[in-house]
Symmetry: C5
Subunit: 308 residues, 5 copies
């Protein structure tokens, strides 16, 4: 709205600015801001192009970082990835998001309190706050996945069906996605810690070390989830094939017991003129009994061999 | 054509030259250029040999880079790989391609505009432009693959058949190929960034950093595609075996239900003289009913056991 | 209890303090300690948050380390992970645990002996003692797993059942967990060795090298267990499918032998008016004999082909 | 033969010597050479022991390199590995081979031309020539494999049989072998490039860089072949199991259609006195028709379910 | 025995001592030696604790190395691992073994020869000799495995049975064990090469480089064996499933051919009053002939489809 006042604001001494732009389609706003704060064209291009890899770039007069914000669309059980660009200048912070997210809401709340460290600290501390909010959000998402995976494990033991596998595969892909967004973060924060720039004060360094640890934790969790999901596929496949094997075994045993019996019945169904057994009075009950005995002994033989 | 004027052109002050050679069979042209610009014989050999690995070599008086240009042959769904050699001299760029490609067309268009940065910048900026055009082209190809893979995933869920697997395998091989061409790029651009040569000005470095990021993005995408394709093979195999199992289960159950019934029919088909049941008036309906009951109870037993 | 005396104690010259806090819910105690010893708020936050990754941080006036203590709940066969934070100050050690564990009991015993090296050494030696106690405990747990895995291997050879697989999977997950806790330890101890701080004396360095070796040993063992467990899954799956194959083979062979015989019986059960064999006096015995011969020769054919 | 003149030859100023020894059983020759050129006993041991890993060692007065030369025994389709040791002295090259190979023949040809760079360059350039000849030979072998693998792929699609798998496995093992010989080459040439010795002139460095690139290319190809062969095993296994599944499905469906029909036939083969259907005039055709209808409807049901 | 004279011996000028202790249960001997040669308590602890990871530690006044000696128990086909600790002092070598092994026998033989390099060299050369003897022993063991694996491969092709798999798995585990013992050796010898201590003279460095190469060779062989064994499991599984498939296919085809024939026989076994075919004179031979034709044509159909 009052983009045009930016020049005035920027030069006001002791001023600390945080400008947040939601929606990357407001190109003219972004370009005005860019020209006001002398942002390099490559940076503007990166801000507008939503497919950036998380990275940190030092342009002497400002530091440009781009991160991925994850939002959980709880309805569709889908992760929505949103690109957040943060420009850390000497006395201003510019942040750009695709969508209006609620990750920064808590931060805004705290900013309203004039005694808060966020307010008293430099703009680099605010930048830390923004990155911290994004990374803390990852933990929420991982927690959500952790619960879902535990549920899935119970289901896997109780009653595995093909849908279980589909969900596992979906989670595996989500992990590939998450990983792609989180791995570069390590480098990013490392870069912020090592950057030889006056924009990041030493007091903030200790906080950056803290979010570096958090990033490693997130990465560790993702890798552990990947391992667990991979082993779940194995469990699923082996439990499905177990079930299948058990069924086939029982069915085959039933067939195997009855086929020889049917053969015997077939024999005495032959129409030869001279089949003495057919004439015997006790022929029928004897044959029936032998068949029963044969069936039962086969059953117990299979039982003894632990095939049933 | 006017290769022989090159000596004159080369020494003209303030001159910036871009010579593009299509077709590596025009050996004498390349050799003349080589002797005019004092290109090392090893470089000429590398230019002519199409199986080079992307690399960057600093020969003091010029920098030699060789890249792979990817073209998508949309008819046969095949990737055509074309080797592009770029020689960055103090005031000239030589580029060599196997085939006449259209990747540089946009660049040529922009060069016609005298006010463009390409025209005003040094030859190193032009070299950046060439490499950038090649890498940007990778994104197009990856996008194409991304769409194909998504289609494939739908197909995998809807109706997997052996051809699906063949296509997956084809894509996996394409990824191996792509990977082989793209991985060394990282090193290449890193080399360009670190080279201690006056041929690459500092102003261009910032642009090299940008294409370095793009290369990492391409690599990340290829690795993600590889992961996804590998998991698709798993899904395919498990869904095929699921289908197969379901079919076999149903068929086996049909057989299992009828085999005991056939046995009973066989029993009453025996020709013993003394089989009292055969004489009973209600014998036949009773046996038929029992068989029906047996069949139905087996069916429900299997149903209850969740085998059907 | 007498937290408030801490200020006095802390400044008493020649004093060496070890304060151990069990239970992270006693927040006010921890905060009082924090303010007394001037602990950075980030450290306090890390102490209270049980999900920390093992790490070492140098805050000039003290060194903060956080480790995972493993306790084996022998009843449920479960590993209980407990977070231990150790703060090494110039003349004090603060340690924080979630649960009251018995890992440090031996240490306390040794501390009672006034001549012990623990008592005479600096606080850094005591810190070494604490970390050493935790890592030594890992060996106990690994030994426990080693025995369990050996038992499992015997079982796998003797009589594999689906439960065996479940236990293998459980152990694999336990290993993932253990790994997550132990890998970062390497870095942690490395950090302690390389820290440029007067808090760690050179005499203690040699002991740190020792526990570094122990950590590597623990990691090696975990990796070896992972390899062994992974190969056990292969053995399990192949032995299960072997069993299954053997059963199906036998059953199929029984069916295969009887089906042609049943066919023959069926032929002579046909009711054609003119079937000369039926009239022959020796028809029945001849057919029975041929069937027996056919059955036996099929049996031996299968035997010779090594199908049985 | 005239080994004893070596002392004289060696000290002749401006002399450049290349002595090639075929056959490692001529121990006394090798030892005489060793004492003449003051070769370290460890080097002589390495030359004679054919199981060396490719490596480069700097013994101040000379550089010792050992490589693996690959020869393709086209008759048995086998790779023969031959160890080549090269000693680069200040004015002499000693090379040792197990077998008389033809890899160096081209080099000898070029050496006969007095104007060749090989003749005019120093002995280090000749050493480069030897190593280059060996590495170029790898490309021939890889090309051979490339063609074989392509043939194999066609066969895999057309008509996979167990022999195909055996050949794939053989190639995989060949790749393991090749890899073992080629991977250390990277280090070797890197060592030659970085060695701080006057034996390798700067002019030769540029050529070493070239063979370094070739080595990387060879490694890349081997890794790509390994990936392709691994994926071919997957394709083979899945296509075999596909074929098998298709066969079993058809056979099971035939059985499944006929088993209920056989049951019906069995029912009307029962000998009950009172089976009214048997007396009906149209009984037989009606039953035959119903059986036909049942069979056909089952067939179309399976067809509709896409089981056939 | 004469441990107490050690003090005297130790200080005798020009003396070079090698004390070898077999059996780690002779604790008091080890402790006496320890106090005589001023060995650090941590070192003594490591010597007595048989589960050490191979490592090298520099305690200024001496260097401590611990290695694993492998002995092949040819009766049980088992590898026995024995821990060897070597302490390299300024003029003494102490070595400690669990069992009396024969690996050092050759060395002792050579030491008896007063002109041997072992005798004339410093104690560091003797230490090299000890380590070299241990590593050379690895080659023997690997050779043994190499032969066993080749035998196994033949067996795998000729006649795979479940025992083959068990042996493969056993070898895989042996490789995991070997690997665990050998990998750290690389670091160990590297450490010895880089140690800034006067205990290792420069003349010995060249020999250390040699055993470094040997270690790498051992590691390469182990990795290659691991790859080969892993691929053998694949071959085994696929050849077992091939055999199984072939059997099942044949059996199923037999069943499939006879089931329709049995159905036909069943049809003419029905007892309908009006079945005109039964009355025909040629009914029986015609039906028999049709059944034969049907069976043969099915057989050839399957043959043509290449199912048999």
């Amino acid at each position: 709205q009052t983009i045009d006042e930016c020049q005035a604001l920027k030069n006001q001494p002791g001023m600390k600015l945080w400008i947040n732009v939601d929606g990357l389609d407001r190109i003219e706003v972004i370009e005005k801001l860019g020209s006001c704060f002398k942002i390099h064209p490559l940076t503007l291009e990166d801000i507008l192009n939503a497919g950036q890899r998380p990275k940190m770039e030092d342009y002497d007069s400002y530091i440009y970082t781009v991160l991925k914000m994850m939002l959980l669309d709880t309805e569709n059980e889908e992760i929505v990835i949103d690109q957040v660009s943060i420009i850390i200048g000497p006395n201003y912070i510019l942040s750009f998001q695709e969508r209006e997210g609620d990750v920064f809401d808590l931060l805004r709340e705290r900013l309203k309190n004039p005694a808060s460290r966020l307010r008293k600290g430099g703009v680099d501390y605010l930048a830390y706050g923004l990155i911290d909010a994004i990374i803390d959000n990852y933990f929420l998402i991982l927690e959500h996945f952790g619960e879902k995976i535990e549920d899935l494990e119970d289901e896997l033991v109780r009653d595995p069906d093909p849908d279980t596998l589909k969900i596992i595969q979906k989670y595996r892909r989500d992990m590939i996605l998450l990983r792609k967004s989180v791995w570069p973060l390590r480098e990013l924060i490392n870069g912020l810690q090592k950057v030889e720039s006056e924009l990041i004060t030493e007091a903030t360094q200790i906080y950056l070390r803290d979010i570096y640890d958090h990033t490693i934790q997130v990465i560790d969790s993702i890798e552990a989830f990947r391992d667990i999901l991979a082993s779940m596929v194995d469990v699923y496949l082996s439990s499905v094939s177990n079930r299948m094997n058990d069924i086939m075994k029982v069915l085959t045993i039933i067939a195997t017991i009855f086929i020889p019996l049917t053969f015997i019945a077939g024999v005495y169904g032959m129409n030869f003129d001279y089949m003495p057994e057919l004439r015997w009075h006790w022929g029928y009950p004897v044959v029936m009994l032998s068949m029963m005995l044969l069936g039962i002994s086969m059953f117990f033989y299979f039982k003894k061999k632990r095939w049933i």
